[in-house]
């Protein structure tokens, strides 16, 4: 019976995917409610009042109920899987302890909960222990490790290579010291702190460009630009997309994208889905030396519509992460010439984070990113996934239904982007303490 239900669910999901006329790869990864998949139905649910509707945002933290959306409206029902979980503050303590301080709890900590009589007392003690762990120096270490893994970089400076520790350390410090998460993309001082195993130590990034060049959070971090150096700065674009938007490319998906005018030799077999003007992307109809307008197999522009509008902002950093007056990334052509603006976009086409979030420079890029709902949601998603052992949202395809964390995202924004508070909220969450 269970197997049959699985097969039916799978069939519905596959049918739903098949019915989606847009070929956004992220539609496979995303769930309902994301603007980026507006043309695709939520995966495997909804419909005519099946087991799991996609409506409502009352899921997380609200016990074991969820909304089932059908033609007859929305009715809260108890989900049997969620209802089968058992509340256990001692089990939660074990998991939280490993995740927050990198070790199992001590026997005394375990028993300090176990010996209490009521669930309320146990909950209060558990909260006390979570707070204690989050003020422990070992939590700093875990945060540094968490961000190293998130950024997929670490390592001290060596030779011409800058430190690749500074960005994850800066991120860890922001969380631990309850500073706004947005500082990560906006701060203009002390963005290259160090961590001595016990304390964070102030530090500005080494001179990394022309005199007077403004520091913009980790957007100007030399370690990141060195770590993700590559042709046309596309590796850097991918880094910021995946780490901060929690999605693979295509970063944007517009089901109502304007199809380009007919282009000779380019009869599109599939639909153009980027919100950017196809004709402004570097390619064979203009002076671009690489044909991002190619559509002989896949529609390159579906991803490069966004990629090419971001890359020029990151292309001045050389292989050692130093900002140069001219573009310092190369083209994968014979002789590997340096890239120029028209390789990405036609002259005069402005850059941006998204089609509706223009950015003419790195400072504006930081502003655009921090005003992007997707980026804010991503920050919370990463904390949730870490706590709930889901793996990396992108690398492990661990996408999360937005409604699961919607209240947390709201609270995160209302708190002034205090991600430390989000960590605490997640580890005290009703879902976290149930197994």
């Amino acid at each position: 019976m269970k197997r049959d239900l699985c097969l039916v669910s799978l069939a519905v999901a596959i049918a739903a995917m098949g019915a989606c006329t847009k070929d956004d790869p992220n539609s496979l990864l995303q769930t309902g409610g994301n603007s980026g998949t507006a043309g695709c139905p939520p995966t495997g649910n909804g419909g005519e009042g099946g087991d799991a509707g996609s409506g409502g945002d009352g899921g997380s933290g609200a016990g074991n109920t969820m909304s089932t959306t059908g033609e007859g409206g929305s009715t809260p029902v108890e989900d049997p899987v969620l209802a089968a979980r058992k509340l256990s503050y001692t089990e939660a303590l074990r998991t939280a302890s490993f995740k927050l301080v990198g070790n199992a709890p001590t026997l005394e900590e375990m028993m300090s909960i176990q010996t209490l009589g009521s669930e309320d007392e146990k909950k209060a003690k558990y909260e006390e222990l979570v707070d204690k762990m989050m003020s422990d120096v070992r939590f700093k270490r875990r945060l540094v490790e968490f961000w190293r893994n998130t950024f997929r970089q670490a390592g001290a400076a060596a030779g011409n290579m800058p430190s690749r520790d500074t960005a994850p350390t800066f991120a860890a410090r922001i969380v631990f010291e309850k500073k706004p998460f947005t500082d990560l993309l906006l701060a203009n001082t002390n963005t290259c702190p160090t961590f001595n195993g016990t304390d964070f130590v102030d530090g500005n990034c080494p001179p990394n460009g022309p005199e007077g060049m403004e520091t913009v959070g980790i957007l100007t971090d030399p370690g990141i630009h060195a770590q993700y150096y590559g042709n046309l700065a596309f590796r850097r674009v991918r880094f910021f997309q995946e780490v901060f938007a929690c999605r693979k490319n295509p970063a944007e998906y517009d089901p109502n994208a304007s199809m380009p005018p007919p282009i000779e030799g380019c009869e599109m077999a599939q639909t153009y889905t980027s919100p950017w003007d196809f004709t402004k992307i570097g390619g064979h109809t203009n002076t671009g030396r690489i044909d991002f307008q190619d559509c002989s197999s896949v529609i390159c522009g579906n991803c490069h519509g966004t990629i090419n509008h971001r890359a020029p902002l990151l292309a001045n950093f050389d292989e050692f992460g130093k900002y140069e007056p001219e573009f310092s990334v190369l083209l994968p052509l014979t002789g590997t010439p340096p890239a120029v603006y028209t390789d990405f976009l036609v002259e005069g086409e402005p850059t941006g984070w998204k089609a509706n979030l223009p950015a003419a420079n790195l400072a504006q890029l930081g502003q655009a990113m921090t005003s992007d709902e997707e980026v804010l949601q991503c920050a919370v998603t990463r904390v949730w996934n870490y706590a709930m052992s889901k793996g990396d949202v992108v690398v492990d395809s661990a996408s999360l239904a937005p409604e699961v964390i919607a209240p947390l995202v709201q609270k995160f924004k209302a708190s002034g982007y205090n991600l430390n508070a989000t960590w605490r909220d997640v580890f005290l969450h009703d879902d976290f303490v149930r197994f």
Binding site: N45, R85, L107, M111, N149, Q153, Q227, M388, S397
Partner: protein, 299 residues
């Protein structure tokens, strides 16, 4: 040992991806318990009646006590081990030994586990099987304990992480230090983070470490501050009755032991051959190793 009979894994098995990852732990538990009951003392005594005897097979790849690892052709080996208290029969997989992309075996033997994940479409299929995202996202999954945390944990439970030997079985600390790659440490130069999930090799290495850690835990847990209350610790096993000590088992598990844990722990030790101190010691080791494996396959 069914899933229902194993409270340590019971909660895991109800949940999403945990179901898949728990398959890593189950072979280890079954493996450990089978050894615990069978009390095969290794290769020193070929006549040891407790050592399972591979009966071979056309495929020729039946591995001792693990069933066939899946030959490249023909029939996998069949291994049977019987004692007065338990009988386990494990049959090597036929042919390639794999089913549904798994590494070896099938659901009828003791070494059925998923091969290293990687194909994103396989992951997506798995997600669909786990349930709708609104539900799946609210359930704990099974992430491995990070490498650094594993070291901290073992050390805090009495394992000498700096121990090395030149010959003979390597101690847990040495296996740990030499097993970085298998355990999935980061390779930042390649822009790779530490893996969040076990590979088959990583899970196997973890169980190896736990097996070797067990005697050190038994010897030292009483003196470890993390396992003391008010500065006073207790032994892993009662010196008079050889029964498992609640506080120490809890400290091994990382959470208060349940009645079922205590029962299982004592049951395993009680299967030692009467009057055989060596066998009793082995039973204790395998008991601790089994609990470590079951409790700490997932973070």
């Amino acid at each position: 040992m069914s899933q229902e009979q194993t409270p340590m894994t019971g909660s895991i098995l109800r949940q999403g991806r945990a179901l898949r990852l728990a398959r890593f732990s189950l072979p280890g538990i079954v493996f450990a318990v089978t050894f615990g009951f069978a009390a095969c003392t290794g290769g020193n005594d070929p006549m040891d009646h407790n050592c399972p005897t591979p009966t071979g097979g056309d495929g020729g790849s039946g591995a001792t006590a693990m069933g066939g690892m899946g030959g490249t052709g023909g029939q996998g080996g069949t291994t049977t081990s019987s004692t007065t208290t338990s009988t386990t029969t494990s049959t090597g997989a036929t042919g390639a030994g794999a089913s549904d992309g798994n590494a070896s075996g099938n659901e009828d033997n003791t070494f059925d586990h998923e091969n290293n994940p990687g194909d994103p479409f396989e992951i997506l299929k798995q997600h669909l099987e786990e349930g709708p995202p609104e539900i799946r996202g609210r359930l704990h999954s099974c992430q491995k304990i990070p490498y650094s945390s594993l070291g901290e944990f073992l050390s805090s439970r009495g394992v000498n992480m700096n121990a090395t030997v030149n010959n003979g079985p390597k101690p847990a600390g040495q296996l740990y230090k030499e097993g970085k790659d298998a355990l999935g440490v980061a390779n930042y130069d390649a822009r790779e983070a530490e893996t969040y999930f076990h590979t088959t090799a990583g899970a196997t290495k973890l169980f190896d470490i736990f097996v070797q850690a067990a005697p050190e835990v038994i010897a030292n847990i009483q003196n470890m501050p993390a396992c003391q209350i008010g500065g006073v610790g207790k032994p892993m096993f009662d010196p008079d009755t050889n029964e498992c000590v609640y506080d120490s088992l809890s400290c091994v598990l990382g959470r208060p032991a349940k009645a079922e844990d205590m029962k299982l722990c004592n049951t395993m030790v009680q299967h030692a051959k009467p009057g055989d101190a060596t066998d009793l010691d082995l039973k204790k080791r395998i008991t601790v190793a089994a609990f470590l494996s079951a409790a700490h396959t997932c973070e």
